[in-house]
Subunit: 252 residues, 3 copies
């Protein structure tokens, strides 16, 4: 029996047993599943941050991995829950934009077959009562067609592209990681022939790696998401200069 992979992405943090309980439910339904923690440190209810993490992570997972994504400020309300199949992976997520940037979705369904849910379904923890048992059932071989009718995501965000600004570009910070680095929406092509990004009144010269900048000096670098990142040599940019998601970056 081949072990199906189930990857979990939540904003549940690590103070509570919420993630552990989800695993208990998944493994009760499919004891041979392999459950992988993608991340549980998404800022509470920050759906965009989760969508960005998913964009950066999905391609690195085994074909067929099911991503169970629970960043869900609308839990218990009427917002739909979606199952979706992409090119190599599939997903369970609330219909709140979380799947905006995972690439083309080949098939999307509403998750409505309550025969698969735990009983009773709480109004505050669908991760345990809906997402986990459905994930376990799918991992154990349930046909996705039984989950519910075909649907389109109601919420889907376009990727924020940099804009022309004079002879340069105006981009923005799309994420700040745990080291304090600011990931921007700028790609290498936006820096072609230009030497620096500017943010928070500082110049961030382009370097080839973190270690190429003097300690404490601002730098820009091509980051692991294929996007330009701003950083401080052996420092924490967020801690020092408070660069925030949404801040404007100029390239000129």
């Amino acid at each position: 029996m081949k072990a199906p992979f189930v990857a979990l992405l939540t904003d549940f943090g690590h103070a509570d047993p919420f993630v552990g309980v989800m695993k208990g439910v998944i493994l009760s339904r499919c004891p041979w599943a392999r459950v992988i923690d993608l991340c549980h440190g998404v800022a509470p209810q920050d759906v965009r941050a989760a969508a960005f993490q998913l964009r950066c992570s999905v391609p690195y997972f085994h074909d067929g991995t099911l991503f169970v994504c629970v960043v869900d400020p609308g839990v218990g309300s009427k917002r739909p829950i979606l199952w979706a199949r992409g090119e190599r992976h599939s997903f369970l997520a609330p219909d709140n934009g979380l799947l905006s940037w995972v690439g083309p979705l080949r098939e999307v369904r509403r998750v409505e077959d309550s025969a698969l849910f735990l009983k009773p379904v709480s109004r505050t923890f669908h991760g345990r009562d809906v997402f986990a048992p459905v994930a376990g059932a799918l991992a154990a071989g349930a046909d996705p067609a039984r989950l519910g009718p075909r649907a389109k995501p109601e919420v889907r965000w376009s990727w924020p592209e940099p804009k022309r600004a004079g002879k340069g570009w105006r981009g923005k910070v799309v994420a700040v990681d745990g080291f304090g680095n600011a990931v921007t929406n700028l790609r290498p092509e936006h820096l072609k022939g230009r030497l620096s990004a500017w943010a928070a009144g500082r110049r961030f010269p382009l370097r080839s790696c973190y270690a190429d900048a003097p300690d404490g000096a601002p730098l820009a670098v091509l980051g692991s998401a294929g996007l330009i990142e701003l950083s401080l040599g052996k420092g924490n940019l967020f801690g020092s200069l408070r660069v925030l998601v949404g801040d404007t970056i100029h390239v000129r």
Copy 2:
């Protein structure tokens, strides 16, 4: 060979390799065990918080799962370590109240067979030297009867029931989760025909889910533990109003 499930609950946090080392020991003794992190974010030495987490989590795990619970301010002292078998699961825990609320225990033994322990047994890390190797041995099929003599838990707390107060009830906060929500000891029956809970001088009207309250407004909701929770619409109640474990809740 069926993979036995071992779930870990500790206050070890994530800054140190303590949990990882326990897994190393368990898997050295039973390489085919499936080890699941229930939670390692229990506040240091907060045995009651761990007991409450266990109460909320155990029912969701596979039959036969062994819960290894190490929140143990008495480590290295003469406090006994217990193995216990409940209705569907079994447990290893210090005899300090941790197993108070997991339901009826069918069989309880003191863990005394030092042939199973690592040598030497440190005085500060029984998670590694006692709990993990015993868990590994049990997972690998050791007979619990060899662990030690039958015993009764020396410490067992009764569940704190709400008390009558006039025409209403007086309850209390039994846990605060990582989102800042305050879990109370009140069940839906205590709110029957009543509209609100009161705490910290504020009224918490009963809502059917978090999203039903305006942003920042207090609400009470039936939480996932089957208990009434106090919360703030898209906010952090603990952060805003400092509602603490043990605080009194009035329902009237």
Copy 3:
């Protein structure tokens, strides 16, 4: 097919999907590997702390476990990456001192066979692009000889031994754990016939376990690493007295 064990030690923290993505890559290359989190809470770029964690953890893992260690301030620069085989385990780590205290290394090679790496190799996330795919290949049975030529670690620290000081010893704090306990480089032999350690102007009398000291009182205890630890009875020494790595301890 026996499941190979791969243990991960990083400073990636839990806010980002970096560790999850590494697991995705390892399991893409070797779906039957068993991946264990040793620790991801090493302070950012604190190679010495990681080296100490490794020293305390490795002996407790199954023979043949591969430790993948990514605390790597030089990521993207020319610093080599090493594969090493010790007496019972093997390792992947940057050549920055991380493997200083894991015991004798029987064979060391530079990791240079880029055919095993992800393409393109980013300059900021070798955990994903180099360490993980190489670990997956090794777990799946690749011959370490193909990784690259034999080498010696360029950076290897000696263990800081306590020094004679009058009739006693002068040691130092080598680590502070998440409970605030200060682990020193003193072994039991250094305290023989002596009763106390001194640090931060306080006396830490030797006790046999944490619970033997009154609440809030300083104590020294033989810790789980075989080293003398300083602690406060039911308290947090680091939080209270700011004892830091490198601080001097006197025994007399």
